[in-house]
């Protein structure tokens, strides 16, 4: 059974501000996600963490409201507001009872347009703590080390939270300047989803945005990351019980023409229902080496190429067996096309997963933002199943063959002992 075609209202204001709204969900709730192209991708070289610091100040007071007044005015309505800071974007996210949509939009725009930049030192302390927390977690240490190894000096190598030196250099003037340049209507997309009338909700948002002056300066995109053709190994000693392993190399951007073939490959190799993907079947279900094992090519793909990678955590004595298994499964998808049955199952899984993602208003709003930001077309969900159904085993094989370089893998191990690494 397919989803009904959705009615989505879309508007682009004269100042470049984009609004998408859609009626969805079965509860009397709405969510509004305001997405600003102001993530850590745009951090200046000597100020790693500036994007997160700017985002961190947004809830510390805006317009006439102090931090506490702002929180009270939202939460008293039974609504929530938060700010999430990532690599490409910063998202101001709200959710609440549908009757307070206009009140919440008013506060959301106040936060985006007129923050007070209060309590910067406290915000920076929190960022330092977040970095320390990341460094406490062997999983995150392992993932970050793989990004650093593969992206080198490219901004994608760094945590969106920044680094201690960058944070130490951030001043009030930096935050104000970053906000002035980045938080402009032509770099914003707003998605409103819930028990709403799309046209009316879009109109409410437009009324809040249409007097916002555009920035006018072009985005300074980083140079594309360069792919290294040599294998590398990095070992990080940490007093933990398991050894965490990441293996991979540079992947594809989201707009790569093979993107959906790679989604099918991901479902076959590393991320399917339960533990039905090849890597999980082998390393977990057959060999009992790990609780978690997975791989993906598309999860981190965006404006810049993401990673083709696999991750697992295992006992130190099982590192060799785990790496050997990953290598063999990588080789298998390069050497031979998957069976038609595998591709058919992967396609069914992906179509079903999209249905699940579209079940919540948050999931639906996030999808609308992705569709708009990458120019995928508002009808892209309607044709998703038929596009996937046209992908053949040889397409998946060709995608794997064209990307996966078995001799150019980077391996990172984080654990209590330092194993000999080779893949």
């Amino acid at each position: 059974m397919a989803e009904a075609t959705r009615a989505i209202a879309r508007a682009r204001l004269e100042n470049g501000f984009r609004i998408l709204s859609e009626r969805s969900g079965s509860m009397p709730l709405f969510t509004a996600l305001l997405c600003v192209e102001a993530g850590s991708r745009y951090d200046p070289p000597s100020r790693h963490g500036l994007s997160a610091a700017t985002a961190g100040t947004l809830l510390e007071g805006a317009g006439s409201l102090s931090s506490t007044e702002l929180a009270l005015s939202v939460e008293s309505l039974g609504a929530e507001i938060d700010v999430a800071s990532g690599y490409e974007t910063v998202t101001i996210a709200t959710m609440g009872p549908v009757g307070c949509l206009d009140d919440i939009l008013a506060i959301m725009f106040e936060i985006a347009r007129a923050p007070r930049f209060s309590r910067l030192e406290t915000v920076l302390d929190r960022q330092r703590s977040e970095i320390a927390e990341e460094r406490d977690d062997p999983y995150q240490v392992c993932q970050r080390a793989l990004f650093e190894t593969i992206y080198g000096r490219h901004p994608r190598a760094r945590s969106p939270s920044g680094d201690p030196d960058g944070i130490a250099a951030i001043r009030d003037a930096d935050v104000r300047s970053f906000h002035e340049q980045r938080y402009v209507p032509d770099r914003c997309t707003l998605a409103i989803v819930g028990d709403i009338d799309p046209e009316s909700a879009g109109g409410l948002a437009a009324a809040r945005a249409d007097d916002w002056h555009p920035g006018g300066r072009p985005l300074d995109d980083p140079l594309p990351p360069r792919r290294r053709k040599v294998a590398s190994a990095r070992l990080v000693r940490m007093a933990c019980r398991q050894t965490h392993l990441c293996v991979g190399h540079l992947g594809i951007p989201l707009l790569d023409s093979r993107y959906e073939a790679f989604q099918v490959l991901d479902a076959i190799l590393g991320d399917c229902a339960g533990f039905g993907a090849r890597l999980a079947k082998r390393l977990r279900e057959s060999e009992g080496l790990a609780y978690v094992v997975e791989s993906d090519t598309t999860d981190t793909a965006g404006l810049d190429p993401g990673l083709f990678r696999a991750y697992t955590a295992t006992s130190p004595e099982s590192v060799g067996a785990a790496l050997g298994g990953i290598r063999e499964e990588f080789a298998r998808v390069v050497d031979e096309a998957p069976s038609p049955k595998e591709v058919e199952a992967a396609v069914a899984y992906l179509v079903g997963r999209r249905l699940v993602e579209n079940e919540t208003i948050e999931g639906r709003a996030a999808r609308l933002l992705q569709v708009e930001r990458y120019g995928l077309g508002l009808d892209s969900d309607d044709s998703y199943a038929s596009r996937l159904a046209s992908i053949r085993p040889q397409d998946v094989h060709a995608a794997a063959e064209s990307l996966i370089d078995l001799e150019g893998m980077s391996v990172v191990a984080v654990g209590p002992a330092l194993p000999s690494l080779s893949i």
């Binding site: 509860m27 939202v74 549908v98 330092r128 320390a132 969106p160 981190t300």
Partner: protein, 464 residues
């Protein structure tokens, strides 16, 4: 919503939660209506009423309870098969048994050999997983609605036909030990597990659901076979089917798949020892982690106690959002924490109300103790404004609606409440929670927050 996300890190540790709460892997472990549009017109912030979808309860002759929920605005169906067995039912020295049994339920039957459940699920465009808690073990599927019969067939097959071979057991035990290793490396889980140990003492709720390493190593396939025989039967199970289905058709199919299964009488449970320890208790753990954590707990009544819905409002007032009592004190005013949480877990027996804080690097955990005590006194004194109380109720209401946003959320909640006291009690509970008045809230706070019964764990960096 996360305060800070790194979109370069994927959700490797995916977990389903039937209720939104602080991640607490120590206490649960997974195997991995027509409406008028209200386009934001200014008006009352009260959430509009949500019409309950049709829910029907059927008791099969063999004791299986079936709940069907017709919800046809999205072409999905969720099924939850909940067994009234959890880690509390493990014999002493055999912790991890219930959780290992949950893993084994995916290891196959004669009809569906190892791997078949996952491959069938994927091929039909579905998802599956399972969750073990202290009280229950739940298996779930989310499927395109047209495939709703398949989960029923799979559940019926493995309810009686799970193949518990020595070989599969050994493989699954290795996986469970790796899961144990993952929790050992997680500071939050470390603190949570230790808190349950000191707060519950000898009570089975004190055991980690995943199990203690030495217990998992000692388990045998015979232990597993005995556990399966004692607890996996229709009379100890609740099946919920929620989504774009017709109740009549689901009932017929349930009779077809489950009706012939033998209804074993339920094992008589040993009476529980006392609940949480009724004395003040504290433990400091010094570990490699740089970021300190403080977790604390107070004994609280079981889920079915009529006074407990107000505790959800108490939790909201304490830690929901940046205007909450604890956030203001710990994050805004004293600058010692980056995040706070307050929640209780719905339990069959008396359980705990938890408060947790992640501190700034170098912050003193003692400050958290002081500020929590002051905030709890503020609540108990009854001095909160009417606006503050209304805010707490509205946030609880929004949480209830969010939990009912997905078919799985509804099915999971109904299954749990049916096992505890009846689904309708749970539905009414959620409504009551968002309507709790001042007297109920203050009375609940006074009943629970007794400083002489507080257990706490500080996790702080070694050598500092």
């Amino acid at each position: 919503m996360p305060a800070m996300t790194d979109d370069s890190l994927t959700t490797v540790r995916r977990e389903h939660k039937f209720v939104r709460m602080r991640k607490s892997r120590a206490r649960q472990s997974d195997r991995r209506n027509g409406r008028a549009a209200r386009p934001g017109t200014p008006g009352s912030p009260e959430a509009a009423p949500f019409t309950r979808p049709p829910i029907e309860r059927t008791l099969l002759e063999n004791g299986l309870t079936l709940l069907t929920v017709e919800l046809n605005d999205h072409p999905l169906v969720a099924t939850v098969m909940l067994y009234g067995v959890g880690s509390v039912d493990e014999p002493a020295g055999k912790s991890g048994l219930a959780h290992l049994m949950e893993h084994m339920m995916f290891r196959g039957t004669r009809e569906h050999p190892a791997g078949a459940i996952d491959s069938v699920t994927g091929r039909l465009g579905g998802l599956n997983n399972a969750v073990t808690t202290h009280d229950t073990t739940s298996y779930y599927f989310v499927m395109p609605a047209a495939e709703w019969r398949t989960p029923l067939a799979l559940e019926a097959d493995r309810m009686v036909g799970c193949e518990l071979s020595e070989l599969a057991f050994e493989a699954e035990r290795r996986i469970a030990l790796e899961e144990r290793g993952m929790l050992d490396d997680d500071p939050e889980a470390l603190a949570d597990e230790e808190l349950d140990r000191i707060a519950f003492g000898a009570h089975p709720y004190g055991r980690p659901v995943v199990g203690e390493r030495e217990d998992i190593e000692r388990l045998s396939v015979e232990d597993l076979r005995a556990f399966y025989a004692a607890h996996y039967s229709p009379s100890n199970a609740v099946l919920v089917v929620c989504g774009d289905v017709l109740a009549d058709e689901v009932r017929s199919a349930a009779e077809e798949y489950f009706g012939s299964l033998p209804g074993e009488p339920l094992a008589i449970r040993e009476p529980m020892a006392r609940g949480a320890e009724c004395v003040r208790n504290h433990r400091t753990i010094e570990e490699r982690h740089a970021v300190p954590q403080v977790v604390m707990a107070f004994p609280c009544p079981p889920a079915v106690d009529p006074t407990t819905p107000a505790l959800d409002v108490v939790a909201s007032l304490l830690a929901s959002g940046r205007s909450s009592l604890l956030y203001r004190r710990l994050v805004e005013e004293r600058d010692v924490a980056v995040d706070v949480a307050a929640y209780r877990v719905l339990t069959r027996h008396p359980g705990l109300f938890y408060i947790a804080a992640t501190l700034l690097e170098g912050a003193d955990p003692a400050v958290v103790d002081e500020e929590v005590s002051a905030a709890l006194e503020e609540l108990k004194s009854g001095g909160l404004s009417a606006a503050e109380l209304a805010k707490g109720r509205r946030l609880v209401r929004t949480d209830v609606l969010r939990a009912r946003e997905t078919r799985l959320g509804i099915a999971g909640g109904l299954a749990l409440w049916e096992a505890l006291a009846g689904w309708d009690v749970g539905w009414a509970y959620e409504e009551a929670a968002s309507g709790a008045g001042r007297e109920a809230v203050v009375a609940a706070a006074r009943a629970v927050f007794d400083e002489e019964k507080r257990s706490s764990v500080w996790l702080r960096p070694r050598g500092r």
